[in-house]
Symmetry: C2
Subunit: 341 residues, 2 copies
């Protein structure tokens, strides 16, 4: 081990809006020791996701919020450096819900061992083969139920989840339209990811009209990533029987005040449409199926994805802000340590 | 025929809020003559439903709006008084989407003949065996998918649809909680309809807390009739995997300005819940199944329902207002004529 302390970001107080350096603070603690059935992981990579912002608030949520004073949570991949469990040996690679820190203490039963990387980089297990990819896979196939020939519209299309949703829908045979901000993102979606159409929400003018133009037969599946006014525009363009899976609303996560809901929700009735929330955690028993399918498409060259790796745990809070101002260009991952640390 | 004219309410202009006597005006026209394939019906009963308010507006809807200058639409039952179709003879009883008028001209193929009333009054075919009962039947069973032991919460519980939804859910084996306004309605739900619990929203104080108390395991199915703030309270009390079928929002139909949507819609995500709009028209091919099931439960005494019959076509507009201020005590029907007219 190259350092004698465990650097850790902890939640000092609940943020109002984007978390600041007063809310999330770096501190130094001793490196933990494993109790019975526990392991200590030297974290190598950490996944930063918009959902973490929700865990910082005490609004009703699908899990209890991060306690004030505790390490901020995140999924990490690391190397086992101490083990008090027969399940893990020193040097094993373990994945689990840990925290923004150099070293994590975790129950062996809560960690997954990655034994075969299939020749893929470890970071892929936090992105396309992790909750990001599995959110796209199960949410689209299980909740969206796409049929060949249907029109899929995806917001946050250049994001980690959105870009995979569009590409999986293309594999299924859908017509895929993405909404993204900026010409670079739009070009990537058209040229690399094979989207049929893109809408640049920064330059398109009236978004409702732009959707109507790009989706002349209506939207059969809307992958809802964003919330806010964008959802209202899409609601006016639904096809009969439309499905709206949703697993997060980036536009609203940092609102200090609760904003009003979509004005046009009544369109669900007019179009016999469905809006359905889901959590990737619901699919844990089916994760092996999803990982196998995504890995195969990836190895066959059918899925393009980007990882945006930021080096250094100390940069985690600044990097976290990228998720909300659109600066990241792919799944956001922090490189905390190296294999030989 | 006892009169030489056809009295008819027509849409003079699109209402803002509740339709007034400036919006919906009674006029006299000649009694129509049937063209080829058409029949003329002497209307006996007319169904007044909140959805008619939606058809008066030109906001995007599931059907084109009623044209300004045209007769206001409604489902009616009447006696055929002139026929230019081999499908109908004079004296047959016909049901169809007609209008607020004494005599309706309609295409024979768009009308249904009621050949066997099963000993039930004709008005039942506009209420429990009409779109009201079928909305409850298909919406609850097909969209709500109730399982024995689950908790169903229904708003507008003493209304025509809501009271049937609760009773069908009881037949399925659910625990049924109703929200209604006023002690009379609440007593009827408990004593006659067999609801397990009721919440009087006029006296309960904090509705969110009242729902939490009456639904301690959360709401598995919420039958959404009302919209507005009530939905926000229910969203905070959903069980994991909850379903929210909805087919109308009485609270919002007469809003001159669009009101904000539910603030707590994000709870659909937190609870992996589903909100799904539907129209009873989607189930037309299955209407015989629904009518047979509802008639059997009715004849077995398992369903209690009330019809609120107002006499006289001329009273239709005033009666229509009852739907929005809660004055009606059962399915609202206008008695336009008698069998011997």
């Amino acid at each position: 081990m190259t350092q004698a302390v465990n650097r850790q970001f902890y939640l000092a107080q609940r943020p109002s809006g984007l978390p600041t350096t007063d809310d999330v603070i770096l501190r130094e603690l001793p490196i933990p020791e494993p109790g019975v059935g526990e392991i200590v992981i030297r974290n190598l990579y950490m996944s930063l996701d918009p959902a973490i912002r929700g865990w910082m608030s005490d609004a009703p949520n699908y899990i209890e919020p991060i306690p004030v004073g505790s390490c901020v949570w995140a999924t990490t991949i690391g190397r086992v450096v101490a083990s008090n469990s027969p399940e893990f040996a020193i040097g094993d690679i373990a994945l689990g819900m840990n925290g923004w820190e150099d070293y994590s203490l975790c129950a062996a039963e809560a960690a997954s061992k990655i034994e075969d990387t299939m020749g893929l980089p470890l970071t892929n297990f936090l992105s396309i083969l992790g909750s990001t990819g599995l959110t796209a896979y199960f949410g689209l196939l299980d909740i969206g139920k796409p049929q060949a020939g249907e029109t899929l519209l995806v917001s946050g299309a250049a994001g980690a989840v959105g870009s995979l949703v569009g590409q999986i829908a293309k594999i299924i045979g859908c017509r895929v339209v993405g909404i993204a901000g900026g010409s670079q993102k739009c070009s990537w979606l058209l040229d690399e990811c094979g989207f049929d159409e893109v809408i640049d929400y920064k330059t398109c003018g009236d978004l409702t009209a732009a959707i109507a133009e790009k989706c002349p037969d209506g939207v059969d599946i809307y992958w809802e990533n964003v919330g806010g006014d964008m959802l209202d525009s899409v609601l006016l363009n639904l096809a009969h029987g439309a499905r709206i899976p949703f697993c997060g609303w980036i536009a609203t996560y940092n609102d200090a005040e609760q904003r009003p809901g979509p004005k046009n929700l009544w369109q669900l009735l007019a179009k016999s449409a469905r809006m359905e929330g889901f959590l990737v955690l619901n699919y844990i028993p089916r994760f092996p199926e999803g990982i196998a399918a995504m890995a195969q498409w990836l190895l066959e060259g059918k899925l393009h994805h980007r990882e945006h790796v930021v080096s250094g745990l100390e940069n985690a809070l600044d990097a976290f802000h990228m998720l909300f101002d659109g600066r990241n260009t792919g799944k956001l991952i922090i490189n905390i340590g190296d294999m030989d640390d």
